[in-house]
Amino acid sequence: MSDIIKNLEEIFGTENVSVSEVDKLMYSFDASQREGKTQVVVWPKNALQIQELIKYALNANLDIVPRGGGTGLVGGCVPNNSIVVDVSKMNKIENINLKEKEVLVQAGLVIKDLNDELKEHNLFFPIIPSSHKICQIGGIIATNAAGIRAIHYGKTDKWIKEIQIINGNGDNLTIKDPTEICGSEGILGIIIGAKLKLTDILEKRTLTVKTFDDIDRLCESVEKVAGNKNITAIEFFGKHTAEIADIKSQYHLFIEYNNDDGEIKEINKINELLNLRKGLGPLIGSKKYTVVEDPKIPMNKLPDFLRWLEENKIPVFGHIGIGIFHPRFKPDQDKLIIEMFELVKKLGGCVSGEHGIGLAKKKNINSKAIERFKILKKKYDPKNIFNRGKIYD
């Protein structure tokens, strides 16, 4: 062990390597509340250090876990006696190209920090997961995150021009096509930067809140507005969620528009309501519903899915406009979770709409998807030094 530390300190400097019990604990978990075991934590400052680390890890057969904001909900950056590489200190904006509307950033940059900087140029990066104040560019690329505006702007992969990644041979690659890396959950390499597409800032935002007692009326309403190009978000929470949040027990829809169509025009009120929606996960989690899922359901099957949740009294919220839901379960509700995934399959949905597979959903992923990941693994990380045991065994 002392050999490992010595070598890592030579690469990163003593202040950017830690084996203290406190640091090891800090990097042993993520927002999924799963815990693993950290061997060493390192905080790289540049690509060369990471390349050196890979060379060393290849020789010493070490497992390397890339980590961003640690907001993942499937244990994707939970270590298994691994070296955790926290890229948070690589958080610079390297260049903003106003003419091309693109920005070159390092992987550790937090989404909100990027958007705060872009405000003065009237530009913004539209991938807004509810965790956008703390999750990072590398993390959202690795999970291909969606978020509240995905109905209008799509998922992360749509907004990537280039990804810079250090692969399992220690090569520093610039990749133009994001398909293979987006959603690869840190098993192919360490993303160190990206060129992102930007769009014009949302000059106007208005919001309508609708409430329903009945699932069919709710779904009809979603169907009615879903094709509207001026809608930038359709968020939802169910009756049990409302009860837990001390709100009248009804189905709630929040519809955000980029024009004057919404009924609420006052921006502080809009932000307050959207913040309430964004905080529902942790709020429900704090009431012992600690297991979070994120199935994606075909739009024509929403009523069947919501009815099942209602019958089983499962609190739920989510990005209903794109069919992604976050039902929340208590840890002893395994049987219900299995039942739910059977239903998701029957309805033609998929296991994970945005959070990924990580450790949490390994048993639910299908063999076709595993085959795809194995092929990519061979291509980028043939010696398997990144994030062992994630997605598949």
């Binding site: 406190v22 604990l25 800090m26 978990f29 509340q33 640690g70 948070s88 996960g281 942790p282 704090s286």
Partner: protein, 113 residues
Amino acid sequence: MTDIEKCTLCGLCKANCPIYKVLLEEKYSPRGKAMLIKKEILSTTFYDCTLCGACEVECPVDINIDIRKMRNKLVEKGMETPANKKMIENVRKYGNPFGKIEKGKIPKELYCC
């Protein structure tokens, strides 16, 4: 349920934490401190906090991480930081945390609570 038992480790508290946003290591984050309390681990990391309350504002569950209580425990166990000891000594002796202040001169070492 205590406040800390309600914490789901989501990390939203990191968003405006003035210590975490500068040092960018998880142990300085409010979430890190919550984890230490969950695990009943005493660490001088509890001194790395301005007590500004920005974490509580961001927290969707309104958790107040009782840093003062943890500092009391550190003092009881003799685990104060040298800076903290010096600051208290200065307050007792000079009525301020910086030590002897000479007019027009900046104190050599700055201790703050």
